[in-house]
């Protein structure tokens, strides 16, 4: 009997909820909170790349747009975090649609290049629109969340729980998405777009929905990141992050929701665990990734591809 996802979500995430009770090390919790933001991002990127087959190489830009959206709304209009959070998601989604509408018509490699370009343009725009974004110095003094009178501070524990709740919510909704007509349409497009459209799936529309959901999640993660750092700078949203997020999705297993989370956890925590090896840690990290791709190319939780080529 397979466990239903409404049970999977609490079952897999509850153990993490206990961590702050056992381990009060601030550094550990801080790392885990950052990793949690990676998990959110990987889950979001997975909707586009893993489920729908839309290779997005500029995902960090949507994360950045969310972060700046909350930062600006907070600094200029005094919006509190809980209003800024959905705003960040929506603004990021809007940019997702804007960049998606022209570029989703092109396939595969071309979409990858378009999103790569968009990612770079966004970072450069953050860097140069000094009047709005503060240029390379970024925006400072972004407000932390206040939860029913409880003020978040440098203490990472409340952020840890905030991120955990967001992960649970995202995972739950994504499972519902996958187990639906739209979810099947997304995968059908990944498998064979032409056949999907001949079966009545309006491919452009459905791909845009996937792109929108994907960038919405990035925006949400961005707002959390901005409120945690209280400062946003352009270099937090560079191409290296986009590639790292993609590596997380691939490592976890394309199209698998828990896979994306596990990939993010592994790639987020490993460099910290390898700190003992000092200079060699990135070498070991890279080596492990190569071994992984040789021995388990479908990713940690990915299903083996169906045997190909019958005709």
């Amino acid at each position: 009997m397979r466990l239903s996802y409404s049970r999977q979500v609490p079952l897999f995430l509850l153990p993490f909820a206990l961590i702050p009770l056992v381990d009060q090390n601030t550094y550990h919790l801080d790392v885990l909170t950052s990793v949690g933001i990676y998990v959110l991002l990987a889950m979001g990127l997975n909707v586009a790349v893993g489920l729908t087959g839309l290779l997005n190489l500029g995902y960090a830009a949507f994360f950045g747009i969310g972060a700046y959206a909350y930062a600006l709304a907070n600094l200029h209009w005094g919006w509190p975090f809980w209003m800024g959070l959905p705003l960040a998601g929506l603004v990021s989604m809007l940019f997702g649609f804007l960049i998606g509408m022209p570029s989703i018509r092109v396939r595969g490699d071309y979409l990858a290049i378009t999103t790569l370009g968009f990612g770079e343009i966004t970072r450069i725009a953050f860097n140069n629109l000094d009047a709005w974004t503060g240029g390379p110095n970024g925006l400072l003094g972004i407000a932390r969340p206040v939860f029913f009178g409880y003020k978040f501070s440098v203490n990472p524990t409340p952020y840890f729980y905030l991120v955990l709740v967001l992960i649970a919510l995202t995972a739950f909704l994504l499972f519902r998405l996958c187990d639906s007509k739209i979810g099947r349409a997304l995968v059908a497009i990944r498998e064979d777009e032409l056949a999907a459209s001949c079966m009545g799936v309006p491919a452009l529309h459905v791909k845009l929905v996937a792109f929108g959901i994907s960038s919405f999640i990035a925006g949400i993660a961005g707002a959390v990141f901005a409120s945690k750092q209280t400062i946003v700078t352009p270099d937090s949203f560079d191409f290296v992050l986009s590639v790292l997020l993609l590596a997380m999705v691939v490592l976890g297993g394309m199209g698998n929701i828990w896979g994306a989370a596990l990939g993010a956890l592994a790639l987020g925590v490993l460099p910290e665990l390898l700190r003992g090896f000092a200079t060699y840690r990135m070498l070991i990290f890279g080596g492990l990734m190569i071994l992984m791709m040789i021995f388990r190319p479908q990713g940690l939780l990915g299903k083996k591809e169906a045997a190909s080529g019958t005709s």
Binding site: L173, R176, S180, K181, I182, E191, A195, A196, M199, G200
Partner: protein
């Protein structure tokens, strides 16, 4: 008027005239065979009808001329009631057999993203309906009990059946089959022929491209013959067999 009425359809790919003034019709509930040597333009014709390739000239009318299919994108053509299979299998390999068939319901169901997130009663009802109907279609094509299998792991013949079930799920009035028995052994061919007849009994008209004359001749009520993008003959199978132009197209000049 007919279910499908094709009026002087032409299509040119660069220097190649793929279709030249093709004109014929398919009646409701009729099985029509489309034959011709390789490269005659049969699959190009399917691609034009299903909106994958725009036509240069002519008209493709559907449902007694009440709908115009030319100019519509592929998913809208399916909505109108034309479903198809492909010459080279195009099933969703990494989805289960059931999911493959369920995709066929896309145009016939209405729940959206919010219904999926909120699991509204409407959504649950519709998903239950999709599942039930999909299982019925799997039974109909003879793949009962394989619903949970990953489609790509099925045998070639079974995959072809999945493709047909997926097309039937969209509740078409006209089904286009592109070489349904290619690569099958004689007993599989026999089974598929009877499946096509059973599909027609459901009130679905079938237009099939087929090279195997032993399959297409007994099955079809009407046969259309194409060669080099042109229709060279049309009529009942008996007449086609003895048509001099058809024999020439297949065997060459004596």
């Amino acid at each position: 008027m007919a279910l499908l009425e094709v009026r002087s359809v032409s299509k040119r790919f660069g220097g190649v005239q793929a279709l030249k003034q093709v004109t014929f019709s398919v009646e409701r509930g009729q099985i029509v065979g489309l034959i011709g040597p390789n490269g005659a333009g049969k699959t190009s014709f399917f691609n034009c009808v299903t909106g994958l390739v725009p036509i240069d000239e002519g008209q493709i009318l559907f449902d007694d001329g009440s709908e115009t299919l030319n100019g519509l994108p592929a998913h809208r053509v399916l909505e109108k009631g034309v479903a198809r299979t492909f010459q080279n299998l195009r099933i969703f390999r990494n989805m289960t057999v059931l999911e493959n068939v369920a995709v066929g319901f896309h145009a016939r169901t209405r729940s959206g993203l919010w219904d999926a997130f909120a699991r509204t009663p409407f959504f649950r009802e519709e998903e239950k309906h999709i599942r039930q109907k999909s299982l019925e279609f799997l039974k109909f094509i003879g793949l009962e009990g394989l619903d949970g299998e990953v489609a790509g792991n099925l045998s070639y013949g079974s995959q072809k059946r999945v493709e047909i079930a997926r097309a039937l799920a969209s509740d078409p009035k006209l089904l286009l089959l592109d070489e349904p028995v290619a690569g099958m052994n004689p007993s599989e061919k026999e089974e598929l022929s009877s499946l096509v007849r059973r599909i027609r009994e459901r009130g679905v008209a079938v237009l099939l491209i087929e090279h195997d004359m032993r399959v297409v001749m007994p099955l079809s009520e009407k046969v259309v013959v194409m060669d080099e993008g042109m229709m060279i003959a049309e009529g009942p199978p008996q007449k086609i067999k003895n048509d001099a132009r058809v024999v020439r197209a297949y065997l060459g000049e004596a």
